[in-house]
């Protein structure tokens, strides 16, 4: 079984704050991490390998620094890793990113492709399904349980707003996963040693037979027009007095507004 996990290196966005005066992001010293959902995708890949045998390859597209994320994934137990890096990929939106990854995936070969449901910096959740379309394979999003997996089909639970759907798919298939799927393992000492020594394979635009006009900024249908700080509203009433008095005031206001 050829299992490929697509990951993204992201800033630890919980720590990104905006400077209200200059309207810019404060990101000094913000560490980068593997996108948290992708860590669950890696764990899922390792668990599938334990069941069916085969190999887990980690793939990412990004600047040369993204190599650190790949080494972290190898420390968890992945077999090898590929870094797609090229100036031609610069400025890719989800369309161009998915196109580029799909070209690399075609080159690597995959029976099961795993992605986190979304990345915490962009929050689009689009790249996984787009890759599947480019590769002309089915995909299933928000996998919360892999019920059964064999070399030619799998059965999974898809998390929905009101419950879950049980789905069956032929292989090859792409799955995007949610955190409920599993508890990711910590890197072992052996894994860390392997990560240190591992040779990360690099691929450029020339290596994946991609059309230049479909890459990076040129290949991206969407563009960012501008960015701005979100608004907050300011007409609050802090209620005074003892706990009892505060409650009385609040309920009186709500009754007055015909809310209760």
């Amino acid at each position: 079984m050829r299992i490929v996990v697509c990951i993204k290196q992201v800033p630890d966005s919980a720590e990104v704050r905006i400077n209200p005066e200059t309207n810019t992001l404060i990101r000094d010293g913000v560490p980068t991490i593997i996108n948290p959902y992708d860590v669950h995708a890696i764990e899922a890949g390792l668990q599938i390998r334990e069941k069916t045998g085969g190999k887990v390859t980690i793939l990412t597209m990004g600047p040369p620094q993204a190599e650190a994320a790949l080494r972290d994934a190898i420390a968890m137990g992945a077999d090898d890793a590929v870094l797609l890096t090229d100036r031609a990929f610069a400025g890719s939106d989800t369309w161009a990113t998915a196109y580029t990854l799909s070209k690399a995936l075609a080159h690597i070969g995959a029976d099961v492709i795993l992605c986190g449901k979304q990345a915490i910096d962009g929050d689009t959740a689009q790249v996984g399904p787009e890759i599947a379309e480019f590769m002309d394979i089915p995909h299933i999003s928000y996998i919360r349980k892999i019920v059964d997996v064999s070399t030619d089909k799998l059965v999974v639970q898809r998390l929905m707003d009101d419950g879950f759907d049980l789905l069956e798919s032929s292989l090859p298939v792409l799955l995007t996963v949610v955190k409920e799927l599993n508890v990711p393992r910590m890197p072992s000492l052996k894994g860390k040693m392997a990560a240190k020594k591992a040779e990360i394979k690099k691929m450029s635009a020339a290596d994946i037979n991609a059309a230049e006009s479909d890459l990076g900024l040129k290949g991206s249908p969407t563009q960012v027009k501008n960015i701005f700080a979100p608004e907050t509203k300011k007409d609050r009433k802090m209620l005074e007095g003892t706990g009892e008095e505060k409650i009385n005031t609040l309920v009186k206001e709500l009754v007055g507004l015909k809310c209760i």
Binding site: T24, I137, G163, L167, M238, G243
Partner: protein, 394 residues
């Protein structure tokens, strides 16, 4: 197009470094340089005191924009029930269609002719309806294949759907196939008066910043829109429109929906449809604290929600989570108990009409969005409030 620094003008002041939300500017030999991380947001253009940063147009920018007409709303149904967000989008879509002088069209897969009629009453002038059993339960491949086919035939200008598990899963396939731009999870849509382009506004970086996205050339312009941020249009039972029946002939699927399982208890109605929400955070201290919230919710006829912190602690299941990685809600009353108010939570609830915040820390950011603030211990205040509500309601 790309962004360029004129090295002769650059004074090396580094003002642009701070302005870049993508960390895409570095200093090299004392001069600013734009790296491949650049997303063309133009934030740096106005901050450069020397005017050294400019945008450079390329020949590929002039790529012909395909002609298209009509604003489309993909109306989502599950078990024959039309999603609330679809009706909201008919309201928002009508405004966009009027500005563009074009028609508002709904697309419905599954459901009945009666459901299609309802979409007309909610504002659609035309409905493309396919009632093939293959499409009655949501399945990415056939949904994407049939919608793509319709778009290729009809060439709409704009195609919208809800940013729900369904819309966010299959719209990317359609966008990939059609080489269309797709913006996820928008909270606002506008038409650029000058170009007629759809301006798609969405939170980025965990809601810390808002970005306006547009598609200068590719058509259709596609977006998924967050539930509960747009207002429904006017319901007119007398409105007439055309229903076009669509065949699913030739559409197939390699995935099969074996079973659809409902897990949500009857008492826990859909958060996004709730009028009143009682939400708890880390300050509730545990499952016992949430029991207090359940009692308050029962007294109010409210639904219970939670911040990510409480969900991560395992006090309440994920589907109750409100915020950037959970649901976006907009009830009449949102009561935030023991929630500090991280920006990731605020983006999921700040459009609520009335926000009541109860927190022992007077400096908690939740108070900045609150209509009413109560500084106090949730374990005392919440039971008192429950009792008072019961008294008032008799």
């Amino acid at each position: 197009m790309y962004i360029k620094v004129n090295k002769n003008l650059c004074s090396g002041c580094e003002a642009c470094l701070q302005s870049c939300p993508y960390d895409a500017i570095v200093m090299k030999d004392g001069k600013a340089e734009i790296t491949e991380l650049c997303q063309l947001c133009r934030a740096c253009l106005s901050v450069c005191p020397e005017g050294a940063i400019s945008e450079v147009k390329e020949a590929s920018d002039a790529r012909e924009t395909a002609q298209g007409k009509g604003v489309w709303v993909f109306a989502e149904q599950r078990d024959g029930k039309i999603a609330g967000v679809s009706l909201e989008l008919l309201g928002a879509g009508k405004g966009l269609a009027e500005k563009l002088g074009t028609e508002l069209v709904a697309v419905l897969f599954g459901g009945t002719a009666g459901d299609a009629q309802e979409l007309i009453r909610w504002g659609a002038e035309r409905v493309f309806h396919c009632d093939d059993p293959l499409l009655s339960a949501f399945n990415d491949e056939p949904y994407a294949a049939l919608l793509s086919k319709l778009i290729v035939e009809q060439k709409p200008e704009i195609v919208l759907t809800g940013a729900t598990p369904i819309g966010r899963s299959f719209f990317p396939r359609v966008a990939a196939k059609l080489r269309a731009g797709l913006t996820a999870d928008c909270t606002s849509l506008e038409i650029d008066a000058e170009t007629g382009n759809l301006l798609q506004i969405r939170p980025a970086f965990g809601g810390n910043i808002m970005a306006t996205i547009f598609c200068p050339h590719a058509r259709p312009q596609m977006a998924t829109v967050r539930p509960r941020v747009m207002k429904r249009g006017e319901y007119d039972p007398a409105r007439k429109g055309e229903i076009v029946t669509v065949s699913a002939k030739g559409i197939s699927s390699r995935t099969k929906v074996v079973e659809t399982v409902k897990e949500v208890a009857e008492t826990a109605i859909n958060l996004q449809d709730a009028n009143i929400i009682v939400a708890g955070g880390r300050g509730m201290g545990g499952e016992k604290g949430f029991q207090l919230l359940n009692e308050l919710a029962a007294a109010l006829g409210a639904s219970v929600a939670a911040s990510r912190a409480a969900v991560d602690e395992g006090w309440i299941p994920y589907r109750h989570q409100v915020g950037q990685t959970g649901k976006t809600v907009g009830p009449k009353i949102y009561i935030a108990c023991g929630i500090s108010g991280a920006v990731q939570h605020l983006v999921g609830m700040q459009s609520s009409d009335i926000i009541i915040a109860i927190n022992k820390n007077p400096d908690a950011p939740i108070f900045s969005v609150a209509t009413y603030g109560i500084v106090g211990d949730v374990h005392e205040i919440v039971p008192m409030l429950t009792k008072k509500i019961r008294d008032v309601k008799g």
